[in-house]
Amino acid sequence: MTDTEEARSESLQLGEPIIEIDDLEVNFAARVGLISGLMGKKGSDAKAVDGVDLTLHEGEVLALAGESGCGKTTTARALLGLIQPQRGTIKFRGKALPRDTRSLRPFRREVQMVFQDPTGSLNPRQTIYEIVAEGLRIHDIDEGPNGETEEDLVAQALSRAGLRPPQRFYLLYPHELSGGQRQRVVIAGALALEPKVIVADEPVSNLDASVRGEILGLLMKFRDELRISILIVTHDLGLAWTVADRVAVMYLGRVVEIGPTEEVLLRPRHPYTKALLKVVPEAGEAGVIREILQGEPPDPTRIPAGCRFHPRCPVVASGRAAELGIEDRCRGEDLPLAEVGDQHFAACHLIDINQQP
């Protein structure tokens, strides 16, 4: 395939680390029914994130991908200090995040969140101006670095987010805008604070197809012009292909593969990444019945022993793992990420014996 050859990545140049997540673990307490609770039964906690290491570099776009329940959103929320992790540290520019809300405030200004549903994240009773200005007010910013007034800052954020002329939007309410425009308002609200990092959780999955590209283009522009680092949480590997420098694939609370986008998506080394790629249609393959992972998304209250993917792994199911003599290890031996290429890591027993998934 010539496309693949062309896409072979020259070594990816990464900037300074801006956010470093180290050995993050987040549990959610189990819920038990009233009767079972009275009888002293305990449910098992859900390990949403179970030992994640992740670094976001300056000016980098990193995609965090996986099925629902894999812990990608929980990782993003812990990163923002919205969830207290049970274990692990999150560092922003080399400094560990404080635990109390008040000391988190300066950090929150630097790291902004864009959620999936623009309608749900905008207050329907506030005008667009108020919405964008609110962040500035919370952080007591009445003046920009060059003496701009609040109105200047709001106008600048709106027009950077593509809402031009900004004055036309000041007095409108969210219901008067289209879905794409609402997401732009959310982005303007985040931008007004001049953040260093934007965490975008499925930023376009609620938007119409033709509008998606514009919003993604906007995020790319911020990265190029303002050197904002972006963490995009998504289930859509096609989207990762379009925007990300690196892709991290999560499965049951762990990163199972991470590396430069071209490497991970064109030459995956983990069978799960390969399976995720199989559900994305490929050129000239219409109507072909593809091999699809069966079964439901995994349950974080019951993490299997060994490689956590082994109950669904096609390599195990097909008997190939047994042939290669690694089946026992797949079933019984948990494993960390191993280096498989330049900045490319994956956690699979096949790597040890130099086999492709």
Binding site: A209, G217, T261, V279, V280, I289
Partner: protein, 328 residues
Amino acid sequence: MSVLNVEDLRVTYTTKGGDVPAVRGVSFSIDRGEVLGLAGESGCGKSTIAGAILRLHSPGTRIEGKLELEGEDVLSLKPGRLRAVRWTGASIVFQGALHALNPVQKIGDQIQEAIQVHGMATEKEAAVRAGALLEQVGLPPRRKNDYPHELSGGQKQRVMIAMALACSPTLVIADEPTTALDVMVQAQVLQLLRSLQHDLGLAMLFITHDLSVLVDVSDRLAIMYAGKIVEEGKANEVFHAPQHPYTAALAAAFPEIGDTRFRHKPAGLGGDPPDPQLIPSGCPFHPRCARAIDACRTVVPELWDAGADRRAACVHVAGAPSLDSVMS
């Protein structure tokens, strides 16, 4: 003979704010065993068409044109006959199916009810058929005693598919059947729909905004914009060699992994889909179109020939009449 034949369908919602023309003259037909994919963005009228086929719209909605299901004129059906046609002639799998099941009734009973209401079988036969249907959609028959809350999203959608098949319809309409589901489950449900359609020789109308899904399941594709079909043809060809600029933009929204044209270059259209009450003059797509010329503002394009077995409503296609003749 085609299973479904739609000619110049127009659906207008009447609201306090005036008439809203949601579908503005749409024609297509679906043969036995054929899957037609209908794609477009929200508000383009695609779901309105689904509703019109089974006459699910509220009173006051104007439906004009011709709608024939197996040669029978749907728009003039009497209520009793209409009830019979729903489920037995055509059935729908909705997007919101996850909430469409009765939460306090066992799923087996819900499927059984659909069969019995139509007088297709005795209670005993219906129960047997319900079990068989569950098996057909990949659920163990013992799950018929489960309540909806005991099922996952993908399993509920499988139950909805079983119900849609309960009365052996000739046409199944799938309206965004996988949108609310997780990626892997979505692929499973699509695979199931495709294999059922193939095994049972069903005619299928598959509606979604996700072109990449449609290419996989459809034989033919029709792309809608502002209440009209703007391009139609063989699925693979429409997706990979779009003739209408709007189709090209939609296809670009779902890039293929490995396609270097889209690497770090998200492609998008400026602007938003038009308000059905304020449809632009000429070609309704012209305000967002990069290839628009002066004529696009005045000439209302029709579906002109755009290659073998392909039609597109754009002045740039090969089969478009010369602009002088249209303008005069």
